[in-house]
């Protein structure tokens, strides 16, 4: 790992100021993506501003159907939250499928979405739940937040502070993990939101990262059943192709995961 300088921020404003004063600094939250990347020398931030201990970014609040999750909430906290479980058990299931128990004790939802790894799990849920992502500067809808592979709408000194969404009437996440890394080869989050409208978020498979599948959404909005999406097409040209699976394989996986998720949501 290259040299770096570490500072711990105690509030959001300070964190933004500390970062602005660095050459090429980065925020660090759980470190479960950033530290492995720095160890491989694929990232060399001059400074690290730790946002994990900022109180305003911690905690989970559920008020009726409003769910709000602090950006520093760990995957384990989301997986085990009784409140989230009542509002949207699918999100607990998803958080519990990330990595392993040790990664889940450190990794945070804010870090995961800010990183926008094309194989990460949370982005699929964020777009399917139409989540609103609140930052130190503004609130961004999930549809506009995830822009490309490892790219988001965030500016350099912008901090994700919380994530909010309305509890769906039903939802489920189905993931086909890469057997070695446990990241998604394809992961599909289906949700029935207001007025029976369906939203389908797909991760792990798309060549420009997480995406919504319009045809499946239309079909499920009319008829929430596995049969309804049987004839939907997943465009191979828009799929990732790598040594773990080619585009045709991934396109098929997306369909299979979507059907499993619809069946699991009931």
């Amino acid at each position: 790992m290259y040299e770096t300088k570490y500072q711990r921020a105690s509030n959001v404003e300070d964190a933004a100021k500390m970062l602005a004063a660095t050459d090429d600094g980065k925020f660090i939250s759980g470190g479960q993506t950033l530290i492995p990347t720095m160890k491989q020398r694929l990232a060399a931030p001059s400074d690290l501003i730790d946002v994990r201990n900022i109180d305003a970014m911690k905690g989970i609040a559920v008020d009726g159907s409003n769910v709000s999750i602090g950006a520093a909430a760990t995957h384990a906290e989301v997986a085990n939250s009784n409140d989230v479980h009542k509002a949207c058990p699918a999100l607990c299931d998803l958080a519990g499928m990330i990595g392993d128990p040790h990664v889940r004790h450190m990794g945070t939802i804010g870090g995961s979405i800010a990183n926008n790894d094309p194989a990460a799990d949370y982005p699929a849920a964020m777009i399917a739940l139409n989540a609103q992502i609140t930052t130190s500067k503004r609130t961004i809808g999930a549809d506009d937040f995830f822009t490309d592979l490892f790219e988001t709408a965030l500016e350099e000194d912008e901090i994700v502070t919380s994530i909010t969404f309305q509890a769906p009437s039903k939802a489920a996440y189905a993931k086909f993990p890469n057997p070695a890394s446990r990241y998604a080869m394809a992961g599909v989050f289906v949700a029935q939101v207001e007025d029976g409208a369906a939203r389908v978020g797909v991760t792990g498979a798309g060549s420009s990262g997480v995406f919504r599948h319009g045809e499946m959404e239309a079909a499920l909005s009319k008829d929430w059943s596995e049969a309804a999406i049987k004839n939907c097409k997943v465009d191979e040209a828009a799929m990732l192709s790598d040594l773990h699976g080619n585009a045709a394989y991934r396109a098929n996986l997306v369909k299979v995961m979507a059907k499993r998720a619809v069946a699991a949501a009931g």
Binding site: I28, I35, M38, Q40
Partner: protein
């Protein structure tokens, strides 16, 4: 260099470290507690698992400065003097190790999962143990005896 201090196995320790020092380096090289192992450079093997503020984490994927102010427990902190921890006894009796390289991480992960399942009141059965061991790799045993050791210890610790 940054001055850090933390509690390790109940003892207050401090040191001056480069900010890039990993917690596992501080534990092994500065504190000379070499029971915590490093088995990979990709954060995947779990040989380095320690407890920080009561939770199992990979000490190769945390900076020592991040752990400043925390309570850390390593494999050396489990036994009570000459009395082995029930997990250590169970690994010994159930042939839960061969080369032993993964064992410190396996035992620290096992202690964490047993505590969590106990606190939540759910049953730590064989299937749950196998899932919980997702982040711990063993190249020798084929896992069966590790799972058996954990089941045995969990029963004795309940």
């Amino acid at each position: 260099m940054t001055s850090i201090s933390m509690s390790v196995n109940g003892k207050a320790v401090s040191g001056d470290v480069e900010d890039r020092t990993l917690l596992v380096q501080f534990i092994r090289e500065d504190l000379r507690l070499t029971g915590t192992h490093v088995g990979c450079d990709t954060s995947q093997c779990g040989a380095c698992v320690v407890h920080v503020d009561g939770k199992a984490v990979k000490s190769c994927t945390m900076l020592a400065v991040q752990a400043s102010g925390s309570e850390v427990t390593t494999i050396e902190g489990l036994a009570n003097g000459g009395d082995l921890h029930p997990l250590q006894t169970a690994f010994k009796e159930n042939h839960g190790l061969q080369c032993g390289f993964c064992t410190p991480g396996m035992i620290m992960s096992a202690a964490d999962m047993i505590a969590r399942y106990k606190a939540s009141g759910s049953k730590l059965d064989e299937k749950a143990i196998r899932e919980e061991l997702e982040g711990n790799i063993c190249r020798c045993t084929g896992y069966h005896n590790i799972v058996r050791s954990i089941e045995d210890a969990a029963a004795k610790m309940s």
